[in-house]
Amino acid sequence: MGTKFPGKLYPLLLLLPTFVVIGLFIYYPMYQTINMSLYKSLFMGLRQIYVGIENYIELFTSPAYRQSLVRSFSFAGLVVLFSMTISFLMAILANQKVRFARFYRTALIWPYALSPAVAGSIFLFIFNPSVGVLNYLLESTIGIRPDWISNSTLAFAMVVIAAVWKQLGYNIVFFLAALQNVPGDIVEAAHIDGANAFQRYWKVIIPLLSPTGFFLLTMNLIYAFFDTFGLVDVMTRGGPVDATNTLIYNLYRDAFQYSRTGFAAAQSIMLFVIVTVVMIVQLKLGNRTVYYQNE
């Protein structure tokens, strides 16, 4: 069947643009990052001294970095868990045949269209201990006025809630699309066989949605690890006392606030290794549990 390319050079020539793009925009920066991580530097590299693997030793022996690691994993875990569960449930609701369904569906996607900075500011106003809506409601109903800004646990919860909310729209779009693609005859068959609503979801629909779920799991993990620093920056700046200082925010702060590019480069390599390991584990597990219809 296959077409034969004339000679060996021709296919290589066709691949060349891809190689150039990948080399220039992925491998070269990667090489630069590794190189940079071997220096202690100031002012975006205008001043630097070679220190070998000292930056890495510092990272491995730093209790603050270890804490940041634990914090990032719990942050990512919570964000992925809640954003996926809530958006799945909301997608089911949005998939119902009700009046104004199209309006609801559009409205559910809106949060995704906001920039992290805007979302962060809005949430700060909601959570503001003295003039915020949330504390007004809490005080008038159960008589408490928690300090979301100064308390580490509450501030962490606040950022998790904002990060979850911000990701809902994205997840709902995919879940909704997947739900609408579930073949009606299969669900109907299950119905006739006597499966109740819960069983139909648990035994039939969710397995059919597992490729989408798996894709979203990957995207949400990447989001939680890499894309949340805007929210953190606007809402808490990593505080109070590092309570929301995730790996990515710590990296950003070292690189762009403290101009310690070398140390930040080492952190970026570490983050790369960590996320790669997580992805490999996930793919291995995914292959066993995800059901692809056309296999």
């Binding site: 202690k40 530097s41 100031l42 002012f43 975006m44 590299g45 205008l46 001043r47 630097q48 001294i49 500011s121 700060l124 106003f125 503001n128 201990p129 003295s130 003039v131 300090d147 800004i149 100064s150 308390n151 580490s152 809402m235 808490t236 700046r237 990593g238 505080g239 109070p240 006392v241 590092d242 702060r253 762009f256 606030q257 403290y258 101009s259 310690r260």
Partner: protein, 437 residues
């Protein structure tokens, strides 16, 4: 024959005028002011471009001070650096160490600027070993703002703002107890205020005379002055008189004051227009006073915050001189007087003050006067010159972290400050190591 001559003559004129145009020196200016201040800057640049025909300035807003500085460092490495940038006060030591800027003084002809005509506190901040490194441009410090209506409701004299931190505590107690407002005081949780208090009571932040007589090696976080300030903030927070709007969160802090949730706010003088407008919009009267300081130390006057203008040295001599000329123009009396009215930053030029006085500006706008009066009280000393330390941005995080540890009572004030010193000293040591000191 005649036609050809006319044509040639025209051609010559054209070429000459074109080359005259091309000879204009192009200067690029990057700044970090958004909103109203950005418009004011555009206007200043327009005035400069119209004031002469040799130099043309291109102005660009580059985001925050940090963004502007990062963009500049990157631009220097790729070879398309701007000529003038605006940078914040705490980057001063870094900018000197970077080696890409020329001291402003060297860009100007001998005697081009009479430094005696500038506010001493402002000039001193940017002078090292007698060399003027950058041009003071937008300078500010911290003052007290208070809500006169809340004061009245609480039974306090609306014309007598508190002068000491102890008084702020007493006033807050009265405001909260009387139900005039839910909290007494707000200010952004920002190390800048700690720095302001330290300077006002004559204490230095880092050793070697605040880094002015030699490279600093220590963060002086464990001295009594610092402990007193921390104890006071902790007491204010724990007893529910101070409301924490978040780390470096100016907008939330201003919102809380505007919503009359507090009787008092400590904020930058650059916020004076915002504060007055909040009072107008929400129907309350705003008073101002000097920043209250800890009792028993005496007032030594403020150090400044804000920014200054730096000339990059990676250009031709001609361009550097033009950049210097532009910078001097921006600090001139008329420009600075208007700048003050637009934003609330000090007029850094003394003649600008006179212009404003003649106009009767300060009589009509007493709130603006407080700031200027406060700066004139500054006694020249390493404390009021301000700290010069390369890792200042990191020190700010360290100080604020320590305050938050105290708020949550995970550490005592002494413990938090001792740990802050260890962190600060380590950061300073690493900076000095990379710089080769």
């Amino acid at each position: 024959m005649k036609k050809t001559q006319v044509f040639i003559a025209l051609l010559v004129v054209l070429v000459l005028s074109a080359s005259a145009f091309a000879q204009k020196i192009e200067i690029v200016y990057w700044h970090a002011m958004s909103g109203l201040a950005e418009q004011a800057i555009a206007e200043q640049v327009r005035k400069f471009n119209e004031s002469q025909d040799r130099i043309h300035v291109e102005v660009e807003y580059k985001g925050s001070y940090r963004d502007t500085l990062n963009a500049t460092q990157a631009a220097v490495q790729t070879g398309n650096a701007p000529h003038v940038i605006q940078s914040f006060e705490i980057s001063t030591q870094q900018l000197i160490d970077m080696g890409i800027f020329v001291p402003l003084q060297e860009t100007l002809p001998e005697g081009a600027v009479d430094w005696g005509k500038f506010l001493p506190a402002v000039v001193n901040y940017y002078t090292f070993e007698g060399v003027q490194y950058s041009m003071p441009y937008n300078s500010s410090n911290a003052i007290l703002y208070y809500n006169k209506d809340v004061f009245e409701k609480a039974g306090l004299d609306p014309e007598r703002p508190p002068e000491t931190l102890e008084e702020v505590y007493e006033y807050s107690k009265q405001i909260v107890d009387s139900g005039a407002a839910p909290y007494g005081l707000v200010f952004p949780l920002h190390s800048w205020f700690v720095e302001q208090w330290m300077a006002n009571i004559g204490a230095i932040l880092v050793n070697n005379d605040n880094g002015r007589s030699g490279r600093p090696t220590e963060l002086l976080a464990t001295q009594q002055e610092m402990i007193d300030i921390f104890n006071w903030v902790a007491k204010m927070y724990n007893e529910g008189y101070y409301i924490n709007p978040g780390v470096e969160n100016w907008s939330q802090s201003r919102q809380i004051f505007a919503a009359q949730q507090v009787g008092m706010a400590i904020d930058s003088t650059a916020a004076v227009s915002t504060k007055l407008k909040a009072g107008e919009d929400n129907d309350f009267r705003v008073g101002t006073g000097f920043i209250p300081i800890p009792e028993g130390y005496g007032r030594h006057g403020s150090t400044i915050g804000g920014g200054s203008l730096w000339v990059l040295g990676v250009h031709s001599e001609e361009e550097i001189a033009a950049a210097g000329e532009f910078v001097v123009f921006l600090s001139g009396p008329e420009i600075q007087a208007q700048w003050h009215k637009d934003t609330g930053y000090y007029p850094v030029h003394i003649d600008a003050l006179e212009l404003l006085q003649e106009e009767g500006w300060f009589e009509e706008n007493p709130a603006y006067k407080t700031a200027v009066d406060q700066l004139f009280e500054s006694i020249p000393s390493p404390a009021s010159f301000g700290a010069a330390v390369g890792v200042f941005p990191e020190i700010r995080t360290i100080i604020v972290d320590a305050l938050q540890e105290v708020f949550q009572e995970v550490k005592t004030v002494e413990q938090a400050l001792a740990d802050a010193k260890v962190r600060g000293d380590k950061a300073i040591a690493e900076y000095n190591r990379v710089m080769g000191f």
